[in-house]
Amino acid sequence: MGLADIHDPPLVEIEEGTKILPPNLILTTVNKVVNWSRLSSLWPMTFGLACCAIEMMTAGSSHYDLDRLGIIFRASPRQSDCLIVAGTITKKIAPVVRRVYDQMPEPRYVIAMGSCACTGGIFNTYSTVQGADLFLPVDVYIPGCPPRPEAFIEGLVKLQEKIRREQYRWSYWR
């Protein structure tokens, strides 16, 4: 009698691949859970080089709070998820940036913030690298000189969406 109910449980599919058995059982894939946990607690490493660092600090302060997105700025590359290159990259500091990127453990992402990090900006000179993507694999580009904190937050949200769409970046056999 009561056992007949078990064969047709009231599962509700809220989005593709995720089902909820009310009140407190969620059925989903490991991929989704891993991606969700990564994007909700993205810990960037600040590489504030020039003017964009000021807008990054402003985005982190209380007016445009970043902590509500789960973002805590870490000073060490070994403990961070993504590298935010904010400001002009010169040839003298390029080896340092690359070294910091190499020290980050997987999974790692790179955000190029500001026109100078995207393409060199207004400084087309002998000592400026024309864009971070010459020597780093950039995931999100945020243009602007400097980009407003709202634009910066939009860039971070775009990175979060990119992480949400990833497939099997956690798996051993990738």
Binding site: K91, K92, A94, P95, R98, D102, E106, P107, N124, T125, Y126, S127, V129, L134, F135, L136, P137, R169, R174
Partner: protein
């Protein structure tokens, strides 16, 4: 004291060294030869009526094809006590780009001279630590000279070339999407 009076005083004390005195918009420049620059600066620093105790700026200028000699080292001096300014320009030729350092008179000239050496290639004799300051130590060329292109020479600096090679090499180990 008026700037032209200061220029006159320098001219009386060092008549052989002063090449020219020019004036533009109430600012006077005194162009001198480079050989006795320390004596001139010491006189300007110690004399009680002039008392130039503050070196506001020390820079270089390159006059390729416009004037001989090619380089000039420009000193901007200010006196706190008397509140007057003067500009001193020392001519440095291209085939012998060396001039004496004034760090013994104003300690603040240290890094200004290093920058001048870095960007123009002028050597300061007697400087405690003459290395490149703004560009990497093994950079070749002197950027602020007029014959150096803005975008840089064809050949990349070796340090950056290493970064590019390393990036290419490590790309195969990266996450491929």
């Amino acid at each position: 004291m008026e700037p032209l009076e200061i220029a006159e005083k320098i001219k009386e004390k060092f008549p052989d060294e002063v090449v020219e005195v020019t004036s533009f918009r109430d600012q006077v420049s005194v162009i001198v030869k480079k050989h006795k620059i320390i004596k001139i600066c010491r006189y300007l620093h110690d004399d009680a009526n002039l008392y130039f105790d503050y070196l506001a700026d020390l820079c270089g200028a390159d006059h390729l094809n416009k004037k001989e000699p090619r380089f000039e080292v420009v000193y901007h001096l200010y006196s706190m006590r008397h509140r007057h300014r003067i500009r001193l320009k020392a001519q440095v030729p291209e085939d012998d780009p060396r001039i004496d350092t004034v760090t013994s008179i104003w300690a603040g000239a240290n890094w200004h001279e290093r920058e001048c050496h870095d960007l123009f290639g002028i050597v300061f004799r007697g400087h405690p630590d003459l290395r490149r300051v703004l560009l990497p130590e093994d950079w070749e060329g002197y950027p602020l000279r007029k014959d150096y292109p803005v975008k840089g020479p064809e050949k990349e600096w070796s340090g950056f070339q290493e970064v590019l090679d390393k990036a290419k090499q490590f790309k195969e180990f990266g996450w491929k999407g």
